[in-house]
Each structure stands twice: as structure tokens, then as C-alpha cells.
């Protein structure tokens, strides 16, 4: 950590956490920062529920015959793992926790545009989550997180209806969050905070909100239709009732492919903030990066049938979608190159958030490039529905989104809690997570490429070495997730006082106290500097780049 030369700051006497006391003050709060903490606790809970299912899957796959659970239970484990992780952790994690906390602070606003709707979105999330947990406990769910029909609408004997209703309700939570962000960013920016002075984190949340608003109603409606087919035998997707199962896949993936960008775009925003902070340089190609964020949001809507190349769709449509899939690689590559260029000749330091950012870039690169294998018609037919696909999307969702989330949590933990975490332990933990992640998922690329299908509870013995390696990696991965909980909680009481701007960084959120007061800023700030302008910010206490010997 590079502290500024100023004397240590005192911990603020009054801040958003101690502004009010009691459970009621939390459950009825309209403060975006408190709501972010409600989300932090909730999504962490779902993460560990999903994590327990993942652990059971990996233990089961230690042996080719799979002695731990029955085939039916295995189906339920991977389904419930996917539902908990995707709908209740990955999609809300960065927007609802970090986005909620930071967007008003970053643009100099006192709160989001609709504080009550913000609280409502958390309640909808909890109601949806409660229904899904009810389905887990009342017979479980075995359809796969994709709810493909007619399995989900006709043949499954598991608790599909409450799960579908829960995800439907949770979808509205996502829509309301996106709506709140869009209106806030449009209407509540502080004087001088022009569009092209906004941090990249805000831009990526803007792009994410567009996807949330335009895509989520489609998946909510689609799951409602599947639910109606199951409960009332209305024919939408069941061929026996005149429906078409491929139509379900079209409608489902119209949202669920862009949903990957709901997970990854906010993480890209986090990584931009981390890299500029710890390279002490403006973001390379700022305007191109904003365009790339919006391009990912738009082009991400045009590629969905690459999930259906072997589902019976038209070969010609598949060809067109395969080509369109290649397009989305362009803005993603632009971002990766620009992060690298930002670090070039910067004063790079290796603090914990930066280690997560390094991990993100490498893992997202592998995840993205293997996505091109899957988006190419010929290779997809070979590796479709194999463990290769599982490895690919975990490199994007865990290597990308979760590493972004962890990096962001560490970057802004001093702002959220007002305290520093133990840096050495945190760095070790980040490295453990990186090693454990690769050990878990890289073998899955290999086993998938040589033919092991996904979602099978048994496998031929020749795959056992790779599976044992993967399970061993998962146990290391678990340590990388659990250790931060302990040291972050420890830091709340025992960590060093962070001060306003411990790294230091250029964003408006670092201009106010840590933790911030309820109203965020005592006086509405006025922005007179460009984004990430380290050179013209004497308040940061940094030498100018030219004086540091950097061009």
C-alpha cells in the first residue's frame, strides 16, 4: 500500500453504519450503502449454498463409479449449484453490492434516484431466493439451471414450480436495479461530472443496466410460460401439446447469453479501476473502453443461438450466429489490450486488488479464447456438452466475474468498512484462489476435449486422474474463498484505520470519509478534473509521472 504523506486520519465518529441502530433500521433503510451491505450478506449466503453443492459434486466425481450420491441426487446437485450461483450470486453480486454502494459516490450523488425501489429490489431478491430455497428443500430441482423443456415443463418430478416462480420474481429485482442505475447516472451526476469524466465502473454498470432492462423480462416471461405449461398444460414448448422445445431455448438464451455480460461487464469496470489505481496511470483509450462496454452489451444480444448449434436449429442460422459470435470477441479484446497498455510504463504495485486483476486478465483471456472454440460450428459439434464447456464458462464466470468481485471487494473494503485488511494474508489468499481455480478447472478442458460429457454422474476410469486433480484443486479453491471472510471480518474491529484515500485513487468516492456519512458528501462535490488524471491531482500526494521517470 502506498500511503499518502499526510498524517493518519481519525476514524469518523458518525457514518452510515452507526447512523441508526437496530434491525428495523436495516430492514427499512433506503440508504444505498446499507442496502449494498444487505446484498453483501445475502449473496454471500447464496454463494456458500452453491459452493456446498459444488463441493459435493467434486467429491462425488473422485471415483469413476461415483459412490457418494444417487444419479438423481447428482442431477439435483449440479442444478441447484447452477441456480444458486447464477441467479442469486453471479448476476447480482457486483451490481447489487459494489454498484449499489459506489455508483452514487462515484458520480457525486447523495443516493440512487429511487431509494425505496432500491430497497424493494432487495426484498424481491429475498422473496425469490426464499422460493428457490424452498424448492431445494422440498424435493430439490433436477432440470439443470437452464430449465430446458419438456423436461422442466412435463417430465421432471422435482420442485420446478416454486423455483421458476422464485427466479421470475428475482428477475424484477434485477430490472429495478438496472432502472435505478440508468436514471441515477442520467440525472444525478455532480456538477462537472460529464459523461466522459465518469469512472469506467459507472460506464460498465450503465451497459449492464441496459442488458438487465431489455433482457430480463424475456427470461422471466419464458420461465413463466414453462411454469404454465407444467401447471396448466398450456402448449408452448411441449410437442405433444403443439409446442416447440427449441423455441424455449431461443427465448431462454436471448437473455441468458447476455446474462454472461451482466456478470462480466461490471467485473471489467472493477478491473479498470484497480489497474488505473495500482499502475498510477489514466486508463489507456478511455473513450474506446466506453464504446467497447456498450458494444459488448449490444453485440452480446446477437449471439445467443451458439448455445443451440446441435439442438436442431437451421444450419444457415447457426452459420450466421457463429459469425456474429466472433464479433463479440473484438470489444473484449480491446479491453484486454487496453488494460495491458495502461500498465505499460506505469508505477505498478502488487497489492491484493491488483493480484486479483492480474488473475482476471489471464483467466478471462483463457475463458474468452476457449469461447471462440465453442462459437465455431465445427469444433462445437465435437466439444458440445462436454466438460470443456464447463471449464470454459467457469473461466469466464469464476475466473472473470468472481475474481473481479473479489478484487473490487478488496479495493473498496477500506471505503466500505473504514479499515484496512491484513495485506500479506490477503495476497497469499489471492494466490491460493488463483492456483486452486486453475487446478480445478484446467483439467476439465482436457477431460472435455478427450470426450468426458458434462452432467454425467459416472465416467470411464481413464478420466479419473484428471477428476482427482480437479477435486484436489477445488479444496484449495475453497480455502481461497473462506480465508477472506475471516480476515475481512477481523479487519472491521482490528484493521488499521484506512482514511479517505488509502491507495490513493482518483475517483470521487475517495474524496469522502471512510466509511462515508449517510449523505455521502458534506458538500456536493464539483468535478474539475478528467477521469484518472493522476498528474493534475496534487491532493493525492503523488509525484507527477514525468517526475517519476515515466513517459
Amino acid at each position: 500500500m502506498n500511503a499518502t504523506a499526510t498524517k493518519p486520519e481519525a476514524f469518523p465518529e458518525k457514518h452510515y453504519v452507526n447512523a441508526e441502530y437496530g434491525i428495523r433500521s436495516w430492514l427499512l433503510t433506503t440508504d444505498h450503502k446499507r442496502i449494498a451491505l444487505l446484498y453483501l450478506v445475502s449473496v454471500t449466503g447464496f454463494f456458500f449454498i452453491g459452493g456446498i453443492f459444488a463441493a459435493l459434486i467434486r467429491i462425488h466425481l473422485l471415483t469413476p463409479a461415483g459412490y457418494l450420491v444417487t444419479p438423481e441426487t447428482y442431477n439435483k446437485l449440479f442444478t441447484m449449484h447452477g441456480v444458486a450461483m447464477i441467479f442469486f450470486f453471479l448476476i447480482p453480486a457486483i451490481p447489487a453490492v459494489l454498484g449499489n454502494f459506489l455508483i452514487p459516490l462515484m458520480i457525486g450523488a447523495k443516493d440512487l434516484a429511487f431509494p425505496r425501489i432500491n430497497l424493494l429490489s432487495w426484498y424481491l431478491y429475498m422473496i425469490g431466493g426464499g422460493l428457490v430455497l424452498f424448492s431445494f428443500l422440498s424435493g430439490g430441482l433436477d432440470t439443470g439451471w437452464t430449465f430446458y423443456t419438456p423436461l422442466s415443463s412435463v417430465y421432471s418430478n422435482s420442485a420446478v414450480a416454486p423455483a421458476v416462480l422464485g427466479i421470475f420474481i428475482n428477475g424484477f429485482s434485477s430490472i429495478l436495479t438496472g432502472l435505478n442505475f440508468l436514471v441515477t447516472i442520467h440525472t444525478m451526476r455532480a456538477p462537472g461530472m460529464t459523461w466522459f469524466r465518469m469512472p469506467m465502473f459507472v460506464w460498465t454498470h450503465y451497459a449492464t443496466s441496459i442488458i438487465m432492462i431489455l433482457g430480463t423480462p424475456v427470461v422471466a416471461t419464458t420461465l413463466a410460460l414453462a411454469g404454465m405449461e407444467r401447471l396448466f398444460h398450456l402448449g408452448f414448448f411441449n410437442p405433444a401439446l403443439g409446442g416447440d422445445p427449441v423455441l424455449f431455448q431461443h427465448l431462454f438464451w436471448f437473455y441468458s447469453h447476455p446474462a454472461v455480460y451482466i456478470m462480466i461487464l461490471p467485473a471489467m469496470g472493477v478491473i479498470s479501476e484497480i489497474i488505473t489505481t495500482f499502475a498510477r496511470k489514466p486508463l489507456f483509450g478511455y473513450k474506446v473502453m466506453t464504446a467497447a462496454s456498450l458494444a459488448i452489451a449490444v453485440v452480446g444480444f446477437l449471439v445467443w443461438t451458439h448455445h443451440m448449434f446441435v439442438a436442431g436449429q437451421s444450419t444457415y442460422a447457426a452459420l450466421a450466429f457463429s459469425l456474429l459470435t466472433m464479433l463479440v470477441a473484438v470489444p473484449s479484446a480491446v479491453k484486454t489490450f487496453n488494460w495491458t497498455a495502461t500498465m505499460y510504463k506505469g508505477s505498478v504495485s502488487y497489492d491484493t486488488p491488483m493480484l486479483y486483476a492480474f488473475g482476471f486478465i489471464g483467466l478471462f483471456l483463457i475463458g474468452g479464447l476457449t469461447g471462440l472454440f465453442l462459437g465455431t460450428l465445427g469444433t462445437d459439434i465435437h466439444i458440445h456438452d462436454t466438460m470443456f464447456v464447463v471449464a470454459h464458462f467457469h473461466y469466464i464466470m469464476v475466473g472473470g466475474a468472481v475474481f473481479g468481485y473479489m478484487g473490487g471487494l478488496h479495493l473498496w473494503w477500506p471505503k466500505i468498512s473504514g479499515r484496512m485488511y491484513p495485506e500479506f494474508v490477503a495476497r497469499i489468499s489471492a494466490i491460493v484462489l488463483f492456483v486452486g481455480f486453475n487446478m480445478t478447472f484446467f483439467p476439465q478442458f482436457v477431460m472435455g476435449y478427450i470426450g468426458m460429457p458434462r452432467r454425467y454422474h459416472t465416467y470411464p476410469p481413464e478420466f479419473q486422474v484428471l477428476n482427482v486433480l480437479s477435486t484436489a484443486g477445488a479444496s484449495i479453491l475453497a480455502i481461497g474463498y473462506i480465508v477472506p471472510i475471516f480476515y475481512l471480518l477481523w479487519s472491521i474491529r482490528h484493521g488499521a484505520i484506512a482514511g479517505r484515500n488509502p491507495w490513493p485513487s482518483t475517483g470521487l468516492e475517495w474524496q469522502t470519509a471512510s466509511p462515508p456519512p449517510t449523505e455521502n458528501f458534506a458538500v456536493t462535490p464539483e468535478v474539475t478534473w478528467e477521469a484518472y488524471d493522476f498528474d493534475n491531482r496534487p491532493d493525492l500526494g503523488l509525484a507527477r509521472a514525468a517526475d517519476r521517470g515515466h513517459k
Binding site: L214, V246, L251, S314
Partner: protein, 96 residues
């Protein structure tokens, strides 16, 4: 921000128009026009939906930005329907 006040006459007129076109939809469904039945039903439904959006939802009197949001929603719906149809309409080509 001042809100545009829509007169009761316009609301009544739009309401009456919607009822009349509901009647026309019913009548059109009783006449066998082959594939045109669906086209006519959908055209009437689109017209009625447009009236609801323009007048009952005040889109006609809204700021440009709000109108842009509405257009974006329909554009995305067109993407969903059009690109899904690109699959259905080209499946028969597979034997070529």
C-alpha cells in the same frame, strides 16, 4: 417538471376506438380469409397497442429520451423475433 394533461375527450375517444377495433377483431375472426386471418388480427392488435402506448401511457407527450427508451424496447423485441425467425424460416433449406 410539468405534466401534460390529456383531456377526457381524448381518453373517451381512444377508449371507444379500442372497443370498436375489438369488435372488428371478433368479426374478422368469423370470416375465413386463410392465412390473412392472422395478419389482420395482428395488425389490429398492433394498432390498438400503439394507441395504448401513445395516449394511455402518455408516450406521445413524453420527452424524447422516454420515447427513445420505448423505441429501444420495441427494437429489441424485433431483434428477438426476427433473429429467432431466421432459424425457423431457413430450416427447410437444410436439404440443399
Amino acid at each position: 417538471m410539468s405534466e401534460h394533461i390529456v383531456s377526457r375527450g381524448i381518453y373517451a375517444g381512444i377508449g371507444a376506438t379500442l372497443l370498436i377495433f375489438t369488435g372488428i377483431t371478433y368479426y374478422a375472426a368469423t370470416v375465413d380469409l386463410g392465412p390473412l386471418n392472422v395478419v389482420i388480427a395482428l395488425t389490429i392488435a398492433t394498432f390498438k397497442a400503439s394507441l395504448v402506448v401513445l395516449y394511455f401511457m402518455h408516450a406521445r407527450y413524453s420527452p424524447r429520451r422516454t420515447q427513445l427508451v420505448i423505441v429501444a424496447g420495441f427494437f429489441w423485441l424485433a431483434l428477438l423475433l426476427g433473429m429467432t425467425l431466421s432459424d425457423y424460416l431457413t430450416r427447410a433449406w437444410q436439404s440443399i
